[in-house]
């Protein structure tokens, strides 16, 4: 890649990266590193002084039942979102892989939620799923008796619902990434498998799926990382409730921030970062290893 001539004009080239380096440093890197300090200081609106408190922020959050609970809720939320989004995305991609007129129409329809704001998605689905909403109306029509279930009113169903709304909003994008991945698989390989007598199901799992690994890596990591730092859909649907059933880490962070406990808010932010690093790094490694070289 590095040719003699590119080496000659190398040095001055660095200036082209300078503005980006400056902006990334000041508005991403510095705050990111500073968070590791802020998580361990007492910084509140109650007092003028900021002082070192060690692990107090974490232990207080633990005693208040915020920390462990928010971590659990966030992980469950992320796993549900990731599973639903990738399941739907992969299924739609397989169905819509060929580029033809009808498929293009379907693709563009299924992509629409991606353009909506997550808040909008939250408002729409809390209406669809409200106790007197169309979802229950439909169930009342098919099932005996009348159904008025409050999907957002019970701890478990609220968490699942909110996670699914998040997945709904993004699965159109996952679909496109999977279509791109499927289209990169050489047709000869699939044809060869067909000639060898592999059925549709077997061709998918034994041939296509392993070759789809780069797209899977991308989608799984991006959805997990996105879901770890989710907040919008919760704000538009449950505000963290019922009780604290959907209080994700970032929702708890906002609450602490709102009460001017900035040290504790930073501590929660650091936990989000920790989750992302702990999950994303090994996952990328693991999924990369499964990739078949093409």
């Amino acid at each position: 890649m590095i040719t003699a001539s590119s080496r000659r004009r190398g040095p001055g080239l660095a200036w082209f990266a300078a503005p980006a380096i400056l902006l990334v440093s000041v508005f991403f890197l510095v705050p990111f590193l500073a968070n590791a300090v802020f998580a361990f200081v007492q910084w509140t609106g109650y007092s003028d002084t900021i002082r070192w408190t060690g692990l107090t922020n974490f232990s207080l959050l633990g005693q208040l039942g915020i920390l462990g609970h928010a971590i659990r809720v966030t992980i469950v939320y992320a796993v549900i979102t990731m599973t639903v989004q990738n399941g739907v995305g992969l299924a739609l991609a397989t169905a819509l892989q060929q580029t033809n007129r009808v498929n293009t129409v379907f693709r563009s329809i299924f992509f629409v939620p991606v353009l909506m704001s997550p808040l909008a998605a939250g408002y729409i689905w809390s209406a669809v799923l409200s106790p007197d909403g169309p979802a229950n109306d439909f169930l009342s029509a098919v099932l005996p008796g009348s159904v008025h279930y409050a999907y957002l009113g019970h701890s478990v169903s609220a968490l699942i619902t909110v996670a699914c709304v998040d997945a709904w909003k993004w699965s159109g994008l996952a679909t496109l990434v999977y279509i791109a991945g499927l289209n990169r698989i050489p047709a000869q390989l699939v044809d060869a498998a067909r000639i060898d007598g592999a059925g549709t199901w077997r061709r998918f799992w034994s041939v296509k799926f392993p070759l789809l690994a780069p797209a899977v890596t991308f989608n799984v990591v991006i959805t997990l990382v996105g879901a770890f730092s989710a907040l919008d859909v919760v704000f538009a649907t449950t505000s963290g409730g019922p009780g604290d059933a959907t209080t994700l880490l970032n929702v708890a962070l906002y609450t602490q921030y709102g009460q001017s406990y900035f040290g504790q808010a930073s501590a929660l932010g650091l936990v989000v970062t920790g989750l992302v690093v702990l999950t994303a790094v090994p996952l990328i490694g693991w999924l990369r290893r499964r990739e078949v070289p093409m």
Partner: protein
């Protein structure tokens, strides 16, 4: 052929609860009266209230303020990210420097690592930018550059250096080479980057919630949230839905105009690296 038919039938059946029902509910209830929208039925309205509902949203929902602020922030920040990102990408792809390689990796980290919001508030305060639109804009730029740098660096690496060398022999300066040769060649990667940026920046609520203060500076997602959580309008589904539609409209219109390019940009662009 029947297999194809079955597939289309299944897709249509799936599209009904997944897309058609939610959007129909949204649209039809946004033109109903408050009482009728309150029951959240999918039926047609007995009387139409489109004009009053949408007028209320535009006035009480501060729609135009939100639209103005969203444009004021999204347009310059996306232009900056694409411009500065592609410049940096060219440098990263073509320069052999070790130090640049390090900054490349640090920049790209921002794709995966979540930005730290509380220290961002603090940093902006120190710079005298807390709560302002410019502070928010710069934060958006600083946290999204990584994605464009990543997309474009990979893309530049696949381009042959011959043209750049030829231009250099013809006496073109670096800026001219970037402007005339690299930038046009980067167009597909930048287009993919632009689509992802528009979707993310336009709909951003998290950063806006923390970094923008005062209703006068609110972007569309913030005005939507403030409108929908106010006790005066929050439970009026007709008005909330009208606001949701107006908030989503700019992107939907852009999408309808360019959908073919958007979809092919995302399927054929380098999203998977």
């Amino acid at each position: 052929m029947t297999a194809v038919r079955v597939r289309y039938l299944l897709l249509s059946l799936f599209a009904i609860p997944w897309i058609v029902l939610p959007f129909w509910l949204l649209i039809i209830n946004s033109v109903k009266s408050e009482g009728e929208a309150g029951v959240l039925s999918v039926g047609l309205p007995s009387s139409w209230h489109a004009a009053t509902n949408y007028a209320t949203v535009v006035h009480q929902g501060r729609y135009l303020t939100g639209l103005g602020n969203s444009l004021l922030i999204a347009v310059p920040s996306i232009v900056l990210v694409l411009g500065l990102g592609s410049m940096a990408a060219w440098a990263y792809a073509r320069s052999p420097r070790r130090s640049l390689r390090l900054t490349y990796y640090l920049s790209v980290l921002s794709i995966v690592l979540p930005p730290a919001i509380i220290p961002t508030v603090y940093t902006l305060t120190q710079l005298g930018l807390n709560g302002s639109r410019i502070g928010y804009l710069l934060t958006v730029v600083g946290t999204r550059l990584g994605m464009v740098i990543f997309l474009c660096t990979g893309f530049v690496r696949t381009l042959p250096v011959d043209w750049e060398e030829a231009a250099q022999l013809d006496g073109a300066g670096r800026w001219q080479i970037y402007r005339r040769i690299v930038l046009p060649l980067l167009a597909p990667a930048l287009f993919t980057g632009a689509i992802l940026l528009v979707i993310n920046v336009w709909n951003d609520f998290f950063f806006a919630l923390f970094l923008l203060q005062g209703p006068g500076r609110a972007t569309l997602p913030l005005t939507l949230y403030q409108f929908a959580s106010s006790s005066a309008y929050g439970l009026r589904w007709n008005l909330v839905f009208a606001h949701v539609i107006l908030t989503s409209l700019p992107l939907l219109v852009a999408y309808i105009i360019m959908q073919r390019r958007v979809l092919s940009g995302l399927t054929e662009g380098g999203t998977t690296g």
